[in-house]
Subunit: 303 residues, 2 copies
């Protein structure tokens, strides 16, 4: 069933110890949509400038991504410039130019209002709330955020978190918003505000998925070559939500959430193998299944 | 079958965000022996001063730990003073007094020379080599080390690493000794020197076990209360080697190494629940099995 995503599309300029690229395709909604499109039809809501290549939009539309919610505005596309050192867990920002993203006030096309699955990407929590009001009766809503909103808009952020089912954080974010260093306690604080599940992204250390009464830990795949970690978290979220949307019609079980976590991890492990969305565009279902199988081989044991 | 361990015994003074203790029992060989004693008979080689409590030695001997290789020397026991902040992965050393440990030149009792399983704790690599020469024909030898020896005695360390089957590192150590930041590549460099297996300890992120052709990733157990991480790595190693020693008589399979990793992780997860060796002294086999079962519940998924 359809999965709505709202978030940024961007041009990235990235340096890592393994190379450098200028003005390549990036943005959280771009990575999310591509990752999710392997599992479910995606409805994309974002904004780009007139400078954004039509070919990329065509590439998205050629997959199961409905781009009718993508506005092409007068002006330039959001740009991010950053670098990584050997510790690929930390992105260092050099420049952010919001450009057309500054005035992003997403309005859902009518045909998107019945979306059963919703991912509120990392944008102003007031806009996240506004999107939620425009969706009729979603089955499952997940939210991503970042330190900037935790520090600058704690009230609106707490309010929208109270309305969603799942929050996706990295370790620093959940510690900051909860005031608890210990991740189990931090997750409990956040679940006290409403969400039934918290997904904590730990970069090269994988993911910790906590809900009331169960915990699931997934490692990241120990790759030999990680070219560019940009978009790994968004790809994870896309694979995670995409898998859940693909299970529509059945009641979601704990195992579904575990598998969603593994499919998300598999997709993220491909994303980092190349710069930009390069690796993410040409996967086969066989590639993904094989990677999930490698994860099983990586973690399984029998007492 | 018997498991020989050579390493330090100490008095620790520790501060963590959850309390402080003065002059409690510590030392790598102490944690290792206690942890391993749940699985196999242990032969302990270490040195303490006259100030070391006889009651503690009795407590060790009352378990399956042969203390006939423990020398009680004139002078004071090794002391370590340190603290942890919220990031429990990093120990900050305030003071180290080697005392009787400075002149530690371990001589194996004759009855220890046939030990089939050997753990060379973190001591001068020249002493590690000396111990190896005193053991007749060990089946399986593992080695631990630390940044100090990597920086100050790289030659002797490389030499002894060439003689062992398994090396246990933390992430910083294997990166430093191999000159490779990527852990998979780093492990391959070390395996090129001789050992067939590398175990990489990642603190709260668990353990990565790499051998030629297979990888196994185990998370750390996400505990709500971690009082004191001191000894977690040594307890892990004790449980890991103890489990392997308990499998003697059968050819060790990949699954044995996986289970050894999980039993080590289970024991380590108990160690950190209290200061010093407190929690480690009173476990039942049921406690340990239950914790390994919790790890299974934490990581399992079915495609």
């Amino acid at each position: 069933m359809s999965l709505l995503v709202v978030g940024s599309m961007a041009f990235d300029s990235i340096k890592s110890p393994f190379g450098a690229v200028e003005k390549v395709i990036g943005g959280s909604a771009t990575y999310f949509s591509l990752a999710a499109s392997y599992f479910a039809p995606v409805r994309l809501v974002s904004v780009v400038g007139k400078d954004f290549p039509a070919g990329v939009i065509d590439m998205l539309a050629a997959r199961s991504i409905d781009t009718s919610g993508l506005r092409i505005a007068e002006g330039e596309t959001f740009r991010w410039k950053g670098y990584y050192e050997y510790d690929l867990n930390t992105a260092h920002t050099l420049e952010t130019e919001l450009n057309v993203f500054k005035d992003f006030a997403p309005v859902l096309p009518d045909s998107f209002r019945d979306s059963p699955y919703v991912f509120l990407g990392n944008i102003d929590p007031r806009l996240q709330m506004d999107i939620l009001r425009q969706v009729r009766k979603p089955r499952l809503v997940a939210l991503d955020t970042m330190n900037y909103w935790i520090g600058n808009s704690p009230g609106p952020l707490r309010e929208v978190i109270g309305k969603v089912d799942i929050v996706v954080f990295n370790e620093g974010e959940i510690r900051e918003i909860s005031g608890e260093y210990n991740l189990v306690k931090a997750a409990r604080v956040v679940m006290g505000w409403g969400p039934g599940r918290v997904v904590i992204k730990r970069g090269e250390y994988g993911v910790l998925h906590i809900s009331d009464g169960t915990m699931f830990a997934a490692p990241a795949y120990p790759l030999e070559t990680i070219f560019d970690p940009t978009g790994a978290g968004d790809s994870f979220a896309g694979g995670f939500m995409g898998y859940l949307a693909s299970r529509a019609g059945t009641e979601l079980s704990d195992m579904d959430y575990r598998l969603a976590t593994m499919y998300g991890s598999a997709i993220a492990s491909f994303t980092v193998e190349a710069f930009s969305t390069e690796r993410l565009q040409g996967l086969s279902n066989g590639d993904i299944t094989e990677r999930v199988e490698s994860f099983r081989a990586l973690t399984e044991f029998q007492v």
